[in-house]
């Protein structure tokens, strides 16, 4: 009986951990995605075509000093969190009509991984 219990428990644990890591996001993969997809416009510490991302998690939208945000983002009252970043990355225009990013990330796991990376650069250096 114990054997059969173990037989079913081990796969459940393995499946659960992979589901858990999928829902949590992988910051290492997120950094690779950031450096191949976001790097054209963004960097962690400098404003470029897009605003810098250091400290983005927990920050109000439109708050990076020295960056020229669209009027839409400046006026939109939102704080960047897991949920709002996921909405933004999946469809920026749907979340904040009139924004100027335009770029979306269609794969949910990619968004999770990117958000995990953005969280990791939101701790002070």
């Amino acid at each position: 009986m114990k054997f059969f219990r173990l037989l079913f428990t081990v796969p459940l644990v393995l499946v659960s951990s992979s589901v858990l890591s999928a829902t949590m996001g992988d910051a290492v993969n997120g950094q690779q995605l950031y450096e191949s997809r976001c790097i054209a416009c963004h960097s962690v510490d400098d404003n470029r075509v897009g605003p810098a991302h250091r400290g983005v998690f927990g920050r109000k939208a439109g708050a990076v000093k020295g960056y020229d945000y669209s009027n839409a983002v400046k006026a939109f009252k939102i704080v960047w969190s897991d949920k709002t970043l996921d909405l933004w990355l999946s469809n920026p225009e749907r979340l904040i009509p009139g924004q100027k990013m335009g770029y979306s990330v269609s794969v949910a796991q990619d968004r999770l991984d990117l958000i995990a990376y953005l969280k990791s650069v939101s701790n002070k250096p």
Binding site: I39, G98, V105
Partner: protein, 194 residues
């Protein structure tokens, strides 16, 4: 910079020397400015598309600045100087076409920043050798490729989406040549614009 790179008999090092022969027709890009766009688009749609095109203008300005810095760095071999000049010319042609399109649509193109601002944002003070310069260029070209591919679904006008695809293809060419010349692995299959 050592002449070992130019003297290196490895085909991959000679690859970029032939980059100028792989140009797309400048006339093909000029079509962007001449095409009758958005015959039936709403003002809101046009404004949205102009916004996206202006992001592209910003990208191209930064790319042009990056190559200016690269060309002036004194770190590039003759072969790489030739390739960098060609790639910069491509970005200048993209910029010309994009700004013409924005004006045709009744918008105002964003303006260029100073070279110093681009240099600071790109951390060029950390570029110590030719490989650093080529790596930066490759990183920016890969980013530009994915940026153009990533904004395609956002365009209201499918003609502009097609142009974004064409520009992405050109950036991908730049990236592929630089990546190969750096001796790095090929990009994974289906990795662009995912």
């Amino acid at each position: 910079m050592t002449s070992a790179i130019e003297n290196n008999a490895s085909p991959r090092r000679l690859f970029l020397g032939n980059a100028s022969k792989l140009a797309l027709s400048a006339g093909a890009i000029a079509l962007l400015g001449g095409k009758d766009l958005l015959a039936a688009a709403s003002p809101a749609d046009m404004k949205s598309d102009v916004g996206i095109l202006n992001v592209a203008v910003g990208l191209e300005y930064e790319g042009i600045a990056a190559y200016t810095i690269a060309l002036k760095s004194g770190l590039l071999s003759a072969a790489h100087l030739k390739a960098a000049t060609k790639f910069q010319d491509d970005h200048k042609a993209h910029l010309t076409a994009l700004t013409a399109t924005i004006r045709k649509m009744g918008g105002n193109p964003v303006t260029e920043k100073s070279l110093d601002e681009y240099a600071k944002a790109l951390k060029v003070d950390q570029l110590k050798n030719e490989e650093d310069v080529l790596s930066l260029a490759a990183r920016l070209e890969l980013g530009a490729t994915n940026a153009y591919l990533g904004v395609i679904p956002a365009f209201k006008d499918s003609a502009l989406a097609k142009i974004a695809g064409r520009l992405a293809a050109e950036e991908a060419t730049h990236f592929a040549l630089l990546n190969f010349d750096l001796g790095r692995p090929f990009a994974p299959t289906m990795s662009f614009g995912a």
